[in-house]
Structure formats: structure tokens, C-alpha cells
């Protein structure tokens, strides 16, 4: 985990989840799992965030909200879809008001399966996303090669 040099902040949004995954995301913050030891902080402000954690599937009502939060997060950013509803719609995929997984609206980098997703797998997903975040950062710095210069890396 050499890429854990920084302190990535996450923002969590509950799309149309049943709460199962949400409380597991929150459980990650608490003493038993404690993702703050990786320097990960949950913020309420999209402009402070690097990682967008979404639980639950999208519906007509929250489409715009998710798009809006995603646009407000500064680049580079990664999206983690937590739970099977965020991945594909899950057991609710046939419901008239459910459009499916969040990848229908915004690009998703990491999918965390499970109903409800376990805290261990959520942490794993977020840590994976940090690798992708670092890659994106390098690409932003050096759009041609995708390699970063050594300057300013440490």
C-alpha cells in the first residue's frame, strides 16, 4: 500500500438504498473497522472530497443530485459503488422507479458487491479506488505518457 501517502476524503451519498449498505459504510468509520487509520475522512462537502461512495440504485428523483455531487468533486476523483443495488439495481431492478446501477449516470471505478456489503469489502473497495485515484492523478499531470515526473511526488 505504498500509495497511501495521502489522506483521501470520501463523500457518501445514499441513492435509493435500503440503509443496509449505508450503515455499513458508517460502521467503517467507527472503532471496530476505523478507516480513519488510513487517513480516510468522511466529509459532507463534495468540494473537499476525492472519493465518491454511492450506495443504492438511481431513480428519477436522485439522478440530478448524484450528477450534481459528481460534478462538484474536483478532479481527480473516483467513484465507488457499494452494494449490489448500486452495481445493478439488485432485487429492486424491476421496480418502476429504479433505473439500475449508478453506472448509468456516472462512470464507476470500483464495484463492491454484497447485500449488504460487508465493512471489510467496503474498505477493500475504497483502498482499491485509491490506487485508481493515484493513476488518474498521474495522468492529469502528464496527459501524454501517463507517467509522472519525479518532481513533486514525494
Amino acid at each position: 500500500m505504498t500509495y497511501l501517502k495521502r489522506s483521501p476524503w470520501i463523500i457518501h451519498y445514499d441513492a435509493s438504498s435500503c440503509n443496509g449498505c449505508d450503515i455499513e459504510v458508517l460502521a467503517c468509520l467507527t472503532p471496530m473497522y476505523d478507516i480513519e487509520r488510513f487517513g480516510i475522512v468522511n466529509t459532507g462537502n463534495p468540494k473537499h472530497a476525492d472519493v465518491f461512495v454511492v450506495t443504492g440504485s438511481i431513480n428519477e428523483q436522485n439522478k440530478a443530485v448524484i450528477k450534481n455531487i459528481y460534478d462538484q468533486i474536483p478532479n481527480p476523483k473516483v467513484v465507488v459503488a457499494v452494494g449490489i443495488c448500486a452495481t445493478s439495481g439488485g432485487v429492486f431492478r424491476e421496480c418502476y422507479n429504479v433505473c439500475g446501477g449508478i453506472d448509468k449516470i456516472i462512470p464507476v471505478d470500483v464495484y463492491v458487491p454484497g447485500c449488504a456489503a460487508r465493512p471489510e469489502s467496503i474498505i477493500d473497495g475504497i483502498v482499491k479506488s485509491l490506487g485508481i485515484l493515484e493513476e488518474k492523478r498521474l495522468k492529469m499531470k502528464n496527459p501524454d505518457t501517463g507517467q509522472s515526473s519525479t518532481v513533486g511526488r514525494k
Binding site: E60, R93, E94
Partner: protein
């Protein structure tokens, strides 16, 4: 083993307000209102309870029939009446707080009237 007795009385829509008023005067609390589509009609249940005695009155109406609001007697009934309107399109007259169909915002109008489904089949084929 039956947990509790539940009585259901079917009444005409014109007697609704009178019956609800009796419950109100008798110190009953409003448990819930709900609408179901049975065939080409709506069944609306008004459930009341007092000291764990559960009573239910029911009206059966056509899609177009207007229902009087009971929110004058039970202030909190507006959540159920707005919900009924938003999901089934039941016309409720005289609500104390009328959201004009914006209480539950849905992708289709009156979705529970003719339920539709999407994403049939395995989700991988979406």
C-alpha cells in the same frame, strides 16, 4: 393462533366523514389509510385503534370518484392522502396540506394504478 380480532366494515363514500367523526369522538387514533387497486376499482381502508382494539372501515370507489379528506379531523392524515393521490391518482378533496402531486415524486404518473416493470430478465442483459 389469532393475534387480534380485526373488523372491517364496508361503507359508502357518503357516510365516510360521519363514521370517521365517530372514531375521532371515541378517542381512536388513526393507524393508517391505504389504497389498493382491486380489479377496476379502488379499495381504501381507514384503520383506527384504541387501546389495542383495531377497527377498519373501507370504501370502494371508481377511479374517478372524489374522496373527501379526513385531515380536518386527523391532522396527520395528509401524509397518507397525498401518498394515495401520488401513487394511485385518487382525487382527495380538501386536504389541509396539498402537495399537488409532489409528496412522492415518481418517474411515471400514478405508478400503482397500472404497475409497470423494467429490466426484465437477468440484470446482465440490461
Amino acid at each position: 393462533m389469532k393475534i387480534e380480532e380485526q373488523t372491517t366494515i364496508v361503507i359508502g363514500v357518503e357516510h365516510l366523514i360521519g363514521r370517521v367523526e365517530q372514531f375521532r369522538k371515541g378517542g381512536y387514533r388513526l393507524v393508517q389509510l391505504n389504497c389498493s387497486k382491486i380489479g377496476e376499482q379502488f379499495e381504501i381502508n381507514y384503520c383506527f385503534e384504541r387501546e389495542y382494539r383495531f377497527e377498519n372501515i373501507r370504501i370502494v370507489i371508481d377511479f374517478e370518484t372524489e374522496v373527501p379528506s379526513i385531515s380536518g379531523m386527523y391532522w396527520g392524515a395528509f401524509v397518507y392522502e397525498n401518498e394515495m393521490h401520488d401513487l394511485y391518482g385518487v382525487a382527495v378533496k380538501g386536504m389541509n396540506i396539498d402537495f399537488q402531486g409532489n409528496f412522492i415524486r415518481t418517474s411515471v404518473q400514478y405508478p400503482f394504478r397500472n404497475p409497470s416493470f423494467q429490466g426484465e430478465g437477468p440484470c446482465q442483459e440490461k
